[in-house]
């Protein structure tokens, strides 16, 4: 068993690109769920807005890639309005239903044959990220060279995406932290506790909920952009329901209503995921046999890993519902 490799990969998983795009999306979901109490199960839809905003610049609009950023933000603002206008006046559960449906609609529309000219169908879009890579090369980062030190050794290509990615995490982490300390954030937290009370004190609850939904969605959009730039392609099936739920899991793991939780959660999620995955792969190389029965086959590792994640989440909810950095004292007043 090669422990060095397992540990190296796990540590790289902590800071890798998966952790980055999860963290950005989780910061957004934290604004909605953690601070405002809005159950947005359609974060993948907002991420798709960002990814397709970038992709469509090359595939359909034939304009420089950078226009994809405002385009993606515009898409997600529109999506936020579309989901929020009919549902934010209703109880929270309705928003959950509508958001999960809206995200699925987006995925099915962009992968449909009918709209292939706009979104590239199920093949997705592949030819838009050169501009982004070129900035990195111009700054002197060689795409295929290796940088860093053990265990954090990355190719230039990875390093460039990671640098930009962590900058985005830091930027949004800072923005959300500042906002939640402000009176604006106070209104959001109060809405999470009791919206009627907030209304009776003269705040336009509907407008604040809309702002929260859109802010969280726009942050999620940037997560989709980072993911698309890293892969160099936009695939519709990368934005399905399960992505939203893994991000939510990672957020809960870290602890809701804390900016640090929404960053640490995704890091640990991917650190653990990589660790378990690598560990099981090492076992599968020299499978333990009991008679004719093989304990673990390499084809089973993926599924088993997700089962273990589910189990971990259940245990977490039972024994540490506030997450890793959450506030135990706050949880005590949750008996509503």
């Amino acid at each position: 068993m090669d422990w060095t490799l397992i540990i190296e990969n796990s540590l790289k998983g902590l800071v890798g690109i998966n952790a980055v795009y999860f963290a950005v999306a989780a910061i957004g979901m934290n604004v909605q769920y953690g601070y405002t109490g809005l159950l947005n199960f359609g974060q993948a839809g907002f991420m798709a807005c960002g990814a397709y905003g970038l992709g469509m610049t090359a595939h359909y609009f034939h304009i420089p890639m950078w226009w994809g950023i405002p385009l993606g933000v515009l898409f997600s603002v529109l999506l936020g309005l579309l989901m929020g206008i009919p549902t934010l006046r209703l109880r929270a559960d309705y928003l959950a239903i509508v958001t999960i449906a809206a995200a699925e609609i987006i995925r099915l529309v962009v992968r449909s044959v009918r709209f292939k000219a706009y979104f590239g169908g199920s093949d997705g879009i592949n030819n838009f990220s050169e501009t982004f890579r070129k900035v990195g090369t111009d700054l002197g980062i060689r795409q295929s060279a290796e940088y860093g030190f053990w265990p954090f050794r990355f190719t230039g290509r990875e390093l460039w995406t990671l640098t930009i990615g962590w900058c985005v995490v830091a930027l949004f982490g800072f923005i959300v932290y500042q906002l939640m300390k402000s009176p604006w954030g106070r209104v959001l937290k109060a809405i999470r506790e009791d919206e009627d009370a907030v209304r009776s004190l003269g705040k336009n609850v509907y407008s604040y909920k809309m702002q929260s939904l859109i802010l969280g969605g726009v942050i999620g959009t940037f997560s989709g952009m980072i993911f698309a730039l890293d892969r160099g392609s936009v695939q519709p099936d990368n934005y399905s329901r399960d992505v939203t739920f893994y991000i939510l899991t990672a957020l809960v793991l870290g602890g809701v209503a804390k900016v640090s939780g929404s960053i640490i959660g995704p890091m640990l999620f991917w650190g653990l995921f990589t660790f378990v995955d690598n560990f099981m792969r090492q076992i599968a190389e020299n499978p333990i046999r009991i008679g004719n029965f093989m304990i673990l086959q390499s084809t089973q590792i993926g599924q088993l890993n997700y089962m273990l994640i589910g189990l971990a989440l259940i245990l977490l909810m039972v024994f540490r519902p506030q997450g890793l950095v959450g506030n135990r004292k706050e949880m005590a007043f949750d008996g509503r």
Partner: protein, 291 residues
């Protein structure tokens, strides 16, 4: 005990003005702060509220009493736009309010509390208080990002909040979560928080429910204080002793309608009220009757 108290000038004037009013349902007041006209709310076949005319005298403490299901809380909800009536118009402080959404009524100076206390449990007591202040610059997200834009206003708000907390004996709980307060303290906090918006009309929905006798006396004094500072108080209450003790005027509702109005003494002698509300058990505590 109300009579021995030194009242402010405005409170005396309100009381004198009310002396001259007719003791009939829907009687007109010399200087009403709130006037409702033909307000009707139906839930399916049930007529919850059907108020032909209602006026609340400025600067007075007006009690709204009636048996359970009389429509008192529904009337509160309608007047503060938390619910929409089927028909009806109402005017607050000279402004027509039918089209005004609930969050704006507060900014206009009409604030309400709830029968089931709504303290924001995971916010600290002081944050609960700060939330009440209206017109906060930092409540716009683009200002919220820049502390310099709202810090000075926040300091003023905090100062005002601390003064109110001191008045309501909550200073020692300043940094605790509101969820850590007792039921009675939550009532106090809710009232103090409502005062942060500097209202002219304070509407209290059962302020005494679930409050122990010692704290009740305390709350009574606070409500009188509000009037003495020039605010108008309209409150729903079942505790008849308290109603008799502090109110200047009493409005009685039953089955959605106003059935009687008058000073507390008139009301306790009014046969219609005795029939509808006090029943045959007049003179005994209502709590015993319900039990």
């Amino acid at each position: 005990m109300g009579a021995e108290r030194v009242c402010s000038e405005s409170a005396k004037r309100a009381r004198a003005a009310l002396e001259t009013c007719d003791r009939v349902p829907g009687s007109t007041k010399p200087d009403p702060i709130l006037v409702a006209e033909a307000v009707r709310r139906e839930f399916g076949g049930l007529v919850a509220v059907d108020v032909a005319h209602l006026e609340v005298q400025r600067g007075s403490i007006t009690a709204l009493i009636g048996p359970n299901g009389a429509g008192k809380t529904t009337l509160f909800n309608l007047v503060t736009s938390f619910d929409t009536p089927n028909t009806g118009t109402w005017v607050f402080d000279g402004r027509s309010m039918e089209k005004v959404p609930s969050h704006r009524t507060a900014a206009m100076g009409m604030v309400r509390t709830f029968q089931l206390t709504k303290s924001l449990t995971k916010l600290s007591v002081i944050e609960n208080m700060r939330l009440g202040a209206t017109g906060q610059v930092g409540e716009k997200w683009w200002n919220g990002l820049f502390g310099a834009r709202w810090r000075s206003q926040e300091a003023d708000i905090t100062e005002r909040a601390e003064a109110l907390l001191a008045r309501f004996n909550l200073s020692h709980m300043r940094d605790e979560y509101a969820g850590a307060l007792s039921g009675g303290q939550r009532k106090l906090l809710e009232m103090a928080r409502a005062l942060m918006i500097e209202p002219t009309l304070v509407m209290l929905d059962e302020p005494m429910a679930g409050v122990n006798p010692a704290l009740k006396q305390n709350l009574n004094d606070h409500i009188r204080d509000l009037r003495d500072q020039g605010m108008t108080v309209l409150f729903v209450e079942h505790d008849m002793d308290m109603v008799h003790d502090i109110s200047d005027w009493v409005i009685v509702m039953a089955e959605g309608r106003i059935i009687a109005e008058g000073t507390p003494d008139d009301i306790s002698r009014n046969p219609a009220v005795i029939d509808a509300y006090l029943g045959a058990h007049q003179g005994r505590s209502l709590l015993e009757e319900e039990a």
